[in-house]
């Protein structure tokens, strides 16, 4: 399993979630009015606030892109993980786990850059690239999660007369849920980052002001986009941390 964030799962930081979420919403709504602040911070800029798109619009675009691609990833990834751990798919398991391990070494930006042009520029290709890359940790963790279910538990379930489907939905998936959620968490966080770069392949996101700021050497644009997307990622991560804890078997 990818435990890249599993250590922090036990940390008592969820108390910050509502405050940071509120801060994120407030900044999204009022970033457009922040001109005086940025004028004071970075004097001498022609245009202290990014105004080609409104910030709520950019946030919405970003969230839609990540949410849509993540939904696709979760659907395909969890199905593939279940398939590989059933007896029908057993033969495919080594290749699926090797691909999901090797695939994750590919730089996400490179995957975006290779996939997107093949499908043209804009929202759809970015969606495809994000969904593809986001699959990998979910597949990996679904397989790992299902495999950690103790064989004694499965035997007991069989012994009590549960059907294969019932064993999957009532025993295996609930027990594997924490690990699967950890995979989704990695996937979503990576996708929030990759969606930021997706503005270079023509998909509008919170990366748009950052890239535009870098191109026109307007540090204020960069900061405005970066602050919002950083907060979005942190809030999402904390949310998933809570979710993971909710799904952990001992619920402590």
């Amino acid at each position: 399993m990818i435990g890249s964030r599993s250590l922090s799962a036990s940390l008592p930081r969820t108390g910050a979630l509502p405050w940071l979420a509120a801060l994120f919403v407030a900044l999204t709504l009022f970033m457009g009015q922040s001109a005086p602040l940025f004028e004071w911070l970075l004097p001498g800029l022609d245009n202290p606030v990014y105004d080609r798109h409104s910030f709520p619009d950019l946030v919405l675009d970003h969230v839609v892109l990540v949410a849509a691609s993540s939904l696709i990833s979760v659907f395909i990834g969890v199905s593939a993980g279940i398939f590989a751990t059933r007896s029908v798919g057993q033969e495919f398991k080594p290749v699926i786990s090797a691909v999901s391990a090797i695939g994750q070494t590919f730089p996400p930006a490179a995957v975006l850059a290779v996939v997107a042009p093949l499908a043209g520029f804009g929202f759809k290709p970015a969606l495809v690239a994000l969904a593809l890359y986001g699959l990998l940790p979910i597949v990996q963790n679904t397989m790992a999660g299902l495999e950690t279910v103790p064989s004694a538990t499965l035997e007991a379930a069989r012994g009590m007369g549960l059907s294969k489907r019932e064993i999957l939905t009532r025993v295996e998936l609930p027990l594997a849920m924490r690990v699967i959620t950890a995979g989704i968490r990695v996937s979503v966080i990576v996708n929030i980052g990759t969606a930021t770069i997706a503005s270079t392949v023509g998909a509008r996101s919170l990366g748009t002001p950052i890239i535009s700021g870098l191109v026109s050497q307007n540090v204020a644009y960069v900061l405005q986009g970066a602050i919002l997307v950083a907060l979005l990622a942190i809030v999402t991560d904390l949310f998933f941390e809570r979710l993971e804890r909710f799904f952990s078997v001992d619920r402590n």
Partner: protein, 387 residues
Amino acid sequence: MKPNRVIVTLLVLALAATLLLPFANLAENRLVSGTPYRFWSALTTGQLVAALALTVSLTGMAVSWYKRPVLNGNATLVCCLCLLLLVIYAAGDFATRSLEDAGPAARVSLSSAFWAQIFCLSLMMIDVLQRMTRSIFMQVFFALFAFAAVMLLFFSGALDQLSIMREYANRQEAFAGALVQHMMLVISALGPALVIGVPLGLLALRRLRLRSGLFSTLNVFQTVPSIALFGLLVAPLSALGEAVPLFRDLGIRGIGSTPAIIALVLYALLPIARNTYAGFAQVPTAAIEAAQGMGMTPQQILWRIEVPLALPVLLSGLRIVVVQSIGLAVVAALIGAGGLGTFVFNGLGQYAIDLVLLGAIPTIILAVLADCLLQLLVSLSRRKGVT
């Protein structure tokens, strides 16, 4: 007769792609969309016959797989590698033949069927390798061998007329520079990351109360999207550079390699600190007590017991960091740090896919190679007795 269903499935997929999708694209110049060529019209008769023969024998072996799994395994590896080299060579050969009587701006680029074939063949080889050996050494050895064979094909000149290779030929020097710069970014981040990360991990080990706070702080860096972290560093660093001319002369500016390296270091801290902590924490306390009881000095316990037992975990942390940094350094091109990402984003800006590939494919290869080598190192460091 029990077939190898993985290979059969992949063969079906590859055949479907070959039949339905274009193999290569011939265009008058960079701007027009050009004519797509199917696999069978791009290859010479001889090449087609060879490809067909290899495919038929692959199918035969896959269908009767479990009769002679070892023989079939070896033969399938050889067939797949031959077919892979044949497909790549045929693409290059097609480019050479079709550009002989075309204008200087004409170009042949690779299309979806080509990529699908390469993808399916690689997966077949991975499947066979996974079935045949659990040994990471054998797997990496074969991967390096296959990689060397493909590289040989590249340097033989047979592929020189493909658009991506022409793009490479035009920018050979810039490419070499970008490659070196890319690796420099990664390497320069490693030193500081280790110097800061390892002590932080040890601190977490000694002071349990600090641990949760430390790891969640470092996790924030991992969570923040790379371009945002770069962006957040741009402002304070440019302010610093402007305020102190000395720093500016040292290269501390808002854009360039400095913010990139700082960001890479910040990203690397969590994996390094966490794996240092985990590596030392998993050393059995009984072993340490026994070592003390037998009269080993703290130094001897550290170097003979703790470090050897923690090393594999430490090195897997390093592996994560190197692979991750190679990927993040692509994005660093956006803040002017150079590296292979320059080609990627220039290409995206000009809608020049070959230029994008010239940046993206080498970074992917670089990441996978680094991963292979470091994985090998991890296995080597794992002592025999420790499972």
